[in-house]
Symmetry: C3
Subunit: 344 residues, 3 copies
């Protein structure tokens, strides 16, 4: 329990209202109640402000006038909310030590926690205070940095390296073989040994069931501060620049190089061997087929519509070239008239 | 082994042919043989009817005349088939009790089955007759309803609740952190604690490697009777209404609210903060970028074609706006002639 | 360490330069150094040739003249590289026998390796030299062929069969229930028992977190030599022909039949009950909505562009049908003039 005064003392912002109001928890604007602190960041939810029953709201100067309760005014309400949320969060409690059911072939620091049925191979380096939860499998020669959290059922293949303060969610797979085959003359595929590794920087979060393949000859590299949502597929030799964030279901094909501070929307696909500059933003559902040299937002998706309207409109796509030809023919025929007209 | 008479006595329908025919199993129309009961529901397979070697076929009144063998006639052949299939299915056999290799910190009912190497945290409620298969990890404070089946290698994070008669397939992850970050001024991402949970109703099926994130402040909610196929990603704060079904590889972004009895086709993506009404049907591969207030079918996909045809046609998409401008210009130029003509 | 002479003696090709040069490892053209053998296959990387510090380069006759270092000339540099890479790869070392923490209810050949915390059910057949890594769950009645490698945390459901020399990556799920439901009159879904199995041929590789559902009545069948990348979803009753390869994030819907030697690009979706001929190539991101009877390459994707350009152009897609109508109207109006003109 903290007061609004204490929050503002800690994080700044302008307080409007009674600073002694006690805050017990955070809640969304639409269903916050007494003792709860809400925030307004997305203008979609502006209408909820008038009727909020929150004890106080974090909001921007432009929204402040309409706030019926106490307010903390800041130019970045969402960031402010994030800071308060982290401050109020109880610290993680994990028992130190190695669960007797774990099968561990490496030395583990006393401050780390190795859960039940975990398998840790030889020559593994686990950082101080790291937590490896139940049923994870950590291959030989892996390094995991200090203060990292690895949720259950994660697999990290031999030789991969993960930095400090990593958060790796359940079912993620790091270091599986890249998809590399050469085609024999008779159509059979010949597997190419994938001898690179995966190198992950500090402060990286990896979502549930996300997969990151090891490199073929070089390493797959995920730089510091990258955030990957669930069910993302990162192919071999990919490089992802620092502080880039990708939403769920994104696929990055082999040897693509993504810049720093990019955002990739959900379900987008980046083809192989492409280079994306820093601060490129790819919209959800977009297929990126060429390199992008300029920062900016890029999109390639089609509007959805009622199915019957779609049937009428999208069948035309098979005839776009013919439509363009018809327009050109019309232009010529009309120009002939206009010439005749001038001559008249 | 049951006779056609017994089946019809149980499930209704009109029998054509010898009711004493014995049925040993079900089989597809195209390769059913003696003693096997087939069905015809999808008109794509109509041509197989004339040559079927099935002992009998479940089909609709309109298809009945063409059936060369015994028939059970019903307006809904697929539903009828489903009922018979369930009736003939042998009951699941799982040994009761907790395997000695499981690491269990909660009381488990004697009727439940906890498989090898399972990890169950503290304060977990497991319902009667529930089966938790090998290598699952069930976090602290989780509840799983009676008669539920959890296949191997599933992870359920702390505090999530699953209703009765759930079926959760291998590798599914329930309760991983939502993808919530605020951006610092310098471009770093600040993780927002995900303090909500996942609440799943009764009779829900969740496919292999599907992921459902916990809410940020509120809960992610999956209502009764929802069916999720494999590799679906449900983000934080999403709500899915009762009896909605989603095919494989669907992605639902954060805070989207999907109505009841909807169907979402494979690979479709629903963006965040949208609302879909009840009985909305989204076609496979469609990207939904706006809320949908009316029941109905919605589509937004492009036709595929031979690659050379596609190159010619789809390059035009980059110039659609120019094409529209040309049409407008043509209309103006032509109108000028038509005006002149009238004046003549 | 081998000499260029030894490599050429083994794999053929024309050697240009000193055959006594010793090769210690393979490396990409762009960062190979002394003692390293590189290759040039993708013309994207042609520019790196002039500045390579590799000891030697594998390349095609057309590229040979520009090579500043020793060269092995072959019409198929990538295939040649693959062969050398496999030759130089150290053999896999896995301890024989069953780890004491594994829970195994079947007889296992002495040459096989069963890792920690593995669960193997009854009546399982494991081939000679097969390796089942930590925390895998192999259901009852499963067969896994000789010399197969199953990485950690894989789940194979009861009764599925995998051929020889399989490579199954971490988190893959084989044999989960197909997504089969009939709709009750009141909107509830009635689950249809999935009584088929999954039958996988020899020399198949399955990527991390890929899922393959068991058939409803028949089996799901993956033929010899198929290569599946990560996070692919194969639905029930699907058939995939020999030596077909699929890139990451592909989804194949139920009862689709894919021919032999096909390639399916990343993120492509094939709808259900379709048939694709042999040697069909589907581009990345394409939604296949009809059967394809002819070999060839098929595409159905939209170009991406800067977001503002996209806004202008793609809004037109909602009005394509109207554009076509306008063109037709213009053609008619203009024809009327042309007729008048002729009459003048």
């Amino acid at each position: 329990m903290v007061s609004l005064d204490e929050i503002v003392a800690h994080f700044g912002g302008d307080l409007v209202g009674n600073g002694e109001i006690a805050i017990t928890s955070l809640a969304p604007l639409g269903n916050a109640g007494p003792g709860q602190l809400a925030f307004l960041s997305n203008s979609k939810y502006q209408a909820q402000l008038a009727e909020t029953r929150a004890a106080a709201v974090i909001l921007s100067p432009t929204a402040a006038a309409a706030c019926p309760v106490a307010a903390i005014i800041t130019p970045q309400p969402y960031l402010y909310f994030a800071r308060v949320a982290r401050w109020l969060q109880p610290p993680l409690q994990a028992p130190r030590g190695i669960h007797p059911s774990a099968v561990v072939d490496s030395a583990i620091p006393g401050s780390a926690c190795i859960g039940p049925n975990v398998r840790i191979g030889a020559d593994v380096l686990i950082g101080e205070n790291a937590i490896i939860e139940a049923n994870c499998v950590i291959g030989s020669g892996v390094a995991i940095g200090a203060d990292s959290m690895v949720y259950p059922n994660v697999t990290i293949y031999d030789g991969c390296r993960v930095g400090a303060r990593a958060i790796i969610h359940a079912g993620a797979v790091i270091g599986s073989d890249g998809f590399g085959f050469a085609r024999e003359v008779d159509g059979h595929w010949l597997k190419i040994p994938q001898t690179g590794s995966v190198i992950i920087g500090n402060d990286v979060e990896i979502g549930a069931n996300t997969t990151i393949d090891r490199g073929a000859l070089e390493d797959t590299v995920i730089d510091d501060g990258v955030k990957l949502d669930n069910q993302i597929q990162i192919a071999h030799n990919v490089r992802v620049g620092a502080h880039t964030a990708m939403a769920g279901c994104v696929g990055i094909a082999g040897s693509a190089s993504i810049g720093a501070r990019c955002t990739i929307g959900g379900g987008a696909i980046i083809l192989g061997h492409l280079t994306l500059a820093d601060e490129v933003h790819v919209s959800a559902g977009t297929l990126v087929t060429k390199s992008i040299a300029q920062a900016g937002t890029y999109t390639g998706t089609v509007p959805f519509m009622a199915h019957d309207d779609w049937l009428k409109n999208f069948a035309r796509l098979r005839h776009l070239d013919a439509m363009a030809d018809k327009i050109r023919a019309l232009e010529k025929r009309l120009a002939r008239f206009e010439n005749l007209q001038e001559k008249d």
